[in-house]
């Protein structure tokens, strides 16, 4: 938490400034380039589909003209497409039959190709790009320092791996592929119509510009509206869920009427804001339809005139035009969707790349030594450390923990206790000085092999929603049942686990069994002991439990600490007084060292706390 406060404001804004748009586009293009084969295939297929569609429409137009000409020879002589001409001895019926069969064949071919186009795109995005990006992000996240997690918060990180990855992918299919598709469609259709009748093309396409403007205008207008709506709805749901979760507080203060008023105000606000969106939507959608219908009206009036003048045929001219116009206007309206996708994908890519580019603070040296089993000797030599260089959290700390010793760490909130602990498993490297294990600088040791020799119990232990066995075996998933039970026994957890509904296979967490604070801590202790580590780290393990539970944990710890070098942060003297060495920290400095007996009799923060905690019992003695 302290890290959050220090870095919060400094780093939160940096994501936006870190990448220029051109850099983002370059990297996204590189991503697409990586999958160029599928991208090309997709574009190729959409081009073939486009041409097939044109051919089908053209043939249909010709069929109409052929029939009309056969019925009434005064009509326009049919013009055959693609340089094809039916043999002279074919009757109109034979020609139409041939063309109709060709249309059907075209339809079947198109269906097959549409299927493969959709599949290629789906595989490319959902089967390749998204899984790859997610796996990369996840693997990276696992190694990032805790401060990254504290700064960004769990929600934001979750969203990066989920929604942001999908939106990053959108650049490939929603921007690149769709964009190419749109350009191809507009150009090819445009040319095709132009070749039939340039003036008619211009007349009909004159609505494209206002259509595009309209789409643009409304998407710019609607987007903030939707965002605001999201916000208001989230707000309302938050109020709702907090009222349910905090029902005891609500009822305790007889605040039901107050909450109802607040909720209804929030709900009213959502409704009122929605009305504006509804208005916009109900102008936009009919407006778009109006414009595309308008182009039909123009087609009739002007095209009808052209036909009467004999300038264009009915089928291959008017009907084909009508068919093309619809698809053309659909693509024009699509422009603003693509433009939105650009915005969306760039914003998301920024957040995704930020994770990928965050340096892993602690990394293995190329020639790192794999340590054999450590004796447990840990030495701090003039160690200074801070989460930001200008704000040291630890200043010039030196001490030695001999193998098997218990080292207590004491200090007020924010004095640097947890930071000191986090240097031992090398979650961070000191800025100055060295941390040594068995006389070797931690930076020279193989990180993973070293960390496996350290067991850790945190203040409020995080247990996964998995079985008890899986939780204990977290550090070594292939541990045998015997190993798991042995660890549980040392941690005094075996008995309560055996009493659970399914013993070691009982599932914990949301839908599973809830454990008491003391049970959770003993389970966490078993987890830490599974690998029989020579070094044990206890970060205030009894902070969140009551006295009775504290007692349970302390007696469990007694056995666990035997034969290991143990570092324990605590404000409770009953844990500290067993320590061979107590380090008293104040504002990042080591101000006192000694045993409980020594420190309790020198003035200082330790002495004060001792007085306060002992006072209870002293008075007790007098009363009894």
């Amino acid at each position: 938490m302290s890290v959050l406060k220090m870095l919060g404001t400094a780093k939160l804004t940096s994501a936006d400034e870190r990448y220029s748009t051109s850099e983002l586009v370059r990297r996204l293009l590189a991503l697409a380039w990586k999958f160029r084969k599928d991208c090309l295939l997709s574009v190729g297929l959409s081009l073939v589909l486009l041409l097939l569609g044109l051919a089908g429409l053209q043939m249909l137009g010709v069929v109409i003209d052929v029939i009309r000409h056969a019925l009434d020879p005064s009509q326009h002589v049919p013009v055959y497409p693609f340089g094809w001409h039916p043999p002279d001895d074919w009757s109109p019926l034979q020609i139409v039959t041939a063309l109709a069969l060709a249309i059907m064949a075209q339809a079947i071919l198109r269906a097959a190709l549409t299927y493969s186009y959709n599949m290629v795109t789906a595989r490319l995005t959902q089967g390749e790009i998204v899984p790859e990006l997610r796996a990369q992000l996840y693997a990276k996240l696992q190694r990032l320092s805790f401060s990254f997690f504290d700064i960004h918060g769990s929600n934001s990180i979750f969203n990066r791996v989920t929604g942001d990855v999908q939106n990053t992918r959108l650049f490939v299919d929603g921007v690149l592929l769709q964009g190419l598709n749109m350009i191809l469609t507009l150009v090819i259709y445009g040319i095709f119509m132009w070749r039939i009748q340039p003036a008619l093309t211009l007349a009909c396409l004159s609505v494209s510009l206002p259509l595009w403007r309209l789409a643009h205008f409304y998407s710019a207008r609607l987007r903030p509206g939707y965002l605001r709506n999201r916000e208001l709805t989230d707000n309302m749901i938050l109020l709702f869920s907090e009222s349910v979760r905090g029902m005891q507080t609500v009822k305790g203060f007889a605040a039901e009427p107050h909450q109802i008023r607040r909720f209804e105000a929030a709900s009213d606000e959502v409704s009122a804001q929605q009305r504006r969106i509804f208005w916009d939507l109900s102008i936009f959608t009919p407006g778009t339809q109006f414009l595309s219908q308008l182009s039909l009206v123009i087609l009739f009036a002007y095209g009808g005139w052209l036909y009467v003048q004999g300038k264009i045929p009915l089928g291959a001219g008017l009907v084909v035009f009508a068919g093309l116009l619809q698809q053309f206007t659909a693509q024009v309206a699509n422009i603003s969707t693509i433009a939105n996708s650009v915005q969306q994908s760039l914003a998301a890519a920024r957040r995704v790349f930020e994770v990928m580019d965050t340096p892993v603070e602690v990394e293995n040296k190329p020639n790192a030594i794999k340590p054999t089993r450590l004796t447990g000797q840990i030495v701090f030599e003039n160690v200074s450390f801070g989460y930001t260089p200008d704000k040291p959290v630890l200043k010039d700390i030196s001490f030695e923990a001999k193998p098997g010793q218990i080292v207590g760490i004491f200090g007020m909130t924010g004095s640097g206790k947890s930071s000191l602990l986090s240097l031992i498993p090398r979650f961070y490297d000191p800025h100055a000085g060295r941390v040594l294990a068995d006389r070797k600088d931690l930076r020279d040791l193989d990180l993973d092999a070293f960390r496996r020799q350290i067991g850790t119990v945190y203040q409020e232990s995080f247990l996964f929603s998995n079985t008890v066995a899986a939780n204990i075996a977290f550090g070594h998933p292939h541990a045998t049942m015997e190993q798991i039970e042995r660890a549980a026994k040392i941690a005094s957890a075996h008995e309560f686990i055996a009493a659970l509904p399914h013993g070691y296979e009982t599932v914990l967490g949301e839908a599973g069994v809830d454990l008491s604070g003391g049970q959770r801590q003993r389970l966490a202790l078993a987890r830490a002991l599974l690998l029989q580590p020579p070094v044990l780290i206890l970060d205030d393990p009894t902070a969140a439990v009551d006295a009775r539970t504290e007692n349970e944990i302390v007696s469990a710890l007694r056995e666990a600490m035997a034969g290991r070098t143990t570092f324990v942060v605590s404000g409770r003297l009953n844990l500290l007084r067993r320590a061979d060495l107590i380090l008293v920290l104040d504002d990042g400095q080591l101000i006192q060292t000694g045993t409980h007996e020594q420190l309790a009799h020198c003035s200082g923060p330790y002495h004060e706390t001792a007085l306060l905690q002992i006072m209870d019992l002293d008075e007790e003695g007098k009363a009894a």
Binding site: K5, G56, L60, V63, A70, L71, L93, L101, M104, A107, I108, A111, N118, T121, A122, G127, V130, R134, Q142, R143, F158, V161, T162, S243, V244, K251, F253, A254, E256, H258, Q259, E264, L281, S282, P286, Q293, L294, V297, W305, L318, T413, R452, I454, F464, S465, N466, A470, F474, G475, P477, H478, A479, G509, S516, D540, A547, R577, E608, L617, A624
Partner: protein
């Protein structure tokens, strides 16, 4: 289950074998899921429909508008056909302009209609949902505490979100779309039959095929979507716990195992997503194929009908043109109606669950003739109280005691001994199964909850704070309190400095799980909140977390200020609190096993003395 296990590699991991331990979260494929469809029920439809009553004018207009639209759409298509067959084929230029003008007029009419039809539908949907939200919230606020202990949070929240949303879709779409689509289908069918009933009867044969294909597609799609949801929920829970458990992962060097596992989950999820895409990749071209093939067939048939066949088989080219424009108006509704019916089933399921919650009878309510409690002194008496949450499982048995106004009562006992339930009864969160709770001689059963609780203040162990500022949270106890009053309250607790030194003072936001405030600060906000209520009786579930010594001392002082002159019930964890209590009740399995003051209880050498030894042995002087 075994079939499922074989089908995908990821489900294997969930089995009880050793590799299950590589998973981050447990996966139970048989977990119960709420049904997303329910059959149409008249009573339910009527009840949902009743919500439109306040907006009857809008609703009736909407029916009229949709009716008009159902006629307008085929009329537009028909007019196109008429234009081509009439003036265009006849090379009648004025006719062309007249028809074009007519078409334009009809377009304007249709589009205007469309504006209102769309807006009214959206507004009606929102209005209904708005009222349902209000009903649901009021209902929840009226439910007694027991309901919230029994009911899963997730199932309450999904009433408000997904269920109400599916009802919304039902209200704003189903009925109206059915009107438009049905009418459009009937009118275009009639037109086509009128032009050429032979060709039309050929077409009708296609309708059931489209229906069946569409139904199959939807079933296949929902099956595949369920698979996606399943694999997604695994991905999401694994990801969420990986993020929350990052400290454990790094400390236990699980990066690689986790990354491998996640990769497998993601790959499975990707495959499932491609599976969904595949279902629509098959279906969408199939539907397109239908209309394209139909065009080809029509061209062929039309050619024969116009050029070769005579007599009753003969066809007119103009009719073919008509069919060309009308056919899709007949075919498209088949799909749309199918989809709307599905939407209706979902609305039924959502509505059913929503109304079931609205219809829940609270297991008790304030008596109809309950009186308002006058200003009290704070004398509390429990007379022979028994209580059970479930019949046959007594939680409290024969609890009797008296606390005089201004006294402090400490409740001591192991977890599950009934301490929290006892104070819950005092706050009238539950009604006793037998016996009476009296406050200043008034039986709680005969007074209103509101008048009782507004004279009480409570601080719970979990320090529940709402999102908003520190100030908002303190003000929660009395929304009308001014800023001065809140400052004065903090002063009277002698702790103003501890909160006012926060980054933004009292305007500091309380964030998710209160991360911006330390535990001690949260505790203090709760004290201030209770103090602002100026209660006669204070109920306090004492927090257990150790705070550093300085803060702890300040909190103790604040607590003393809070309790001064008030009757207090404290579920106590600290010796210092217990020692100062006027009455200590030692609870064991729902019975008061010992009572007295700290000193007298120690002398008894009973349960309390044993508990006390545990406290002491956990402390340094032993």
């Amino acid at each position: 289950m075994s079939a499922q296990t074989k089908s995908s590699p990821a489900t294997n991991i969930a089995k009880g074998d050793r590799s299950a331990r590589e998973a981050i979260t447990y996966y139970n494929p048989q977990e119960e899921r709420e049904a997303d469809r329910a059959p149409l029920q008249l009573a339910l439809i009527r009840r949902i429909f009743a919500y439109t009553k306040p907006y009857a004018a809008k609703r009736n207009w909407l029916f009229a508008l949709t009716f008009a639209r159902g006629l307008q759409l085929p009329a537009l298509a028909w007019l196109i056909g008429r234009t081509i067959n009439g003036p265009i084929a006849g090379r009648d230029l004025t006719g062309i302009y007249e028809y074009a003008a007519g078409y334009f007029a009809l377009v304007v009419f249709t589009i205007t209609n469309f504006h209102f039809r769309q807006r009214f539908a959206l507004e009606l949907g929102e209005a209904v949902v708005h009222d349902m939200r209000a009903d649901l919230f009021r209902k929840l606020m009226a439910m007694p505490m027991g309901f919230f202990n029994r009911t899963k949070f997730g199932s309450i929240i999904s009433r408000m979100t997904s269920d109400i949303d599916s009802v919304r879709a039902g209200v704003q779409d189903v009925a109206f779309v059915l009107v438009v689509q049905g009418l459009q289908m009937v009118v275009s069918a009639a037109l086509m039959a009128w032009y050429d009933w032979k060709l039309f009867s050929l077409m009708v044969a296609l309708a059931p095929i489209i229906w069946i294909v569409n139904e199959n597609y939807r079933h296949e799609m929902s099956r595949r979507l369920r698979k996606v949801q399943e694999s997604w929920s695994r991905v999401a829970s694994t990801l969420a716990e990986s993020v929350s458990g990052i400290r454990v992962t790094q400390a236990f060097v699980r990066h690689d195992v986790n990354a491998d596992f996640f990769q497998r989950l993601i790959d499975t999820h990707g495959e499932n997503n491609v599976g969904v895409a595949q279902a629509s990749a098959v279906f969408v071209p199939l539907l397109q194929l239908k209309s394209q093939l139909f065009l080809g067939a029509m061209a062929l048939l039309g050619a024969f009908g116009a050029l070769r066949w005579h007599g009753w088989l003969h066809m007119d080219v103009g009719d073919l043109v008509m069919f060309f424009f009308l056919a899709n108006l007949f075919f498209d509704p088949i799909q749309n109606i199918g989809n709307q019916l599905n939407q209706a089933f979902m609305a039924m399921a959502g509505g059913e669950r929503l109304f079931r919650m609205l219809d829940q009878k609270p297991e008790w309510q304030d008596a109809a003739d309950a009186k308002s409690l006058p200003l009290i002194q704070g004398r509390v008496e429990f007379q022979g109280i028994n209580f059970e949450y479930k019949t046959g499982r007594p939680v409290l048995t024969d609890i009797s005691f008296v606390a005089e106004a201004g006294q402090t009562v400490a409740l001591v006992g192991h977890t599950g001994s009934g301490k929290t339930t006892l104070v819950g009864l005092l706050q009238k969160f539950y009604l006793p199964t037998a016996g009476r709770v009296l406050v200043d001689g008034f039986d709680l059963n005969s007074i209103t909850s509101e008048s009782l609780r507004s004279q009480m203040g409570s601080v719970q162990q979990n320090n529940f704070l709402f999102s908003g500022t520190v100030m908002d949270n303190i003000r929660f106890a009395r929304p009308t309190a001014t800023e001065e009053e809140i400052h004065a309250t903090l002063e009277s607790l002698d702790c103003a400095d501890l909160l006012e030194t926060l980054p933004h003072g009292l305007q500091t936001a309380v964030t998710e799980r209160g991360a911006s405030l330390s535990f001690g600060q949260r505790q203090l906000v709760c004290f201030a909140r209770a103090m602002l209520a100026n209660p006669r009786i204070v109920v306090l579930d004492e927090a257990t977390s150790a705070i550093d010594t300085v803060t702890e001392a300040r909190l103790q002082r604040a607590l003393e200020n809070l309790l001064r002159g008030r009757t207090a019930f404290i579920v106590a964890h600290r010796l210092s609190t217990i020692r100062k209590a006027n009455l200590v009740l030692v609870l064991d399995q729902g019975h008061i096993v010992e009572r007295g003051t700290h000193a007298s209880l120690l002398r008894q050498q009973g349960v309390y003395a044993r508990l006390h030894r545990e406290f002491v042995s956990a402390s340094p002087q032993n």
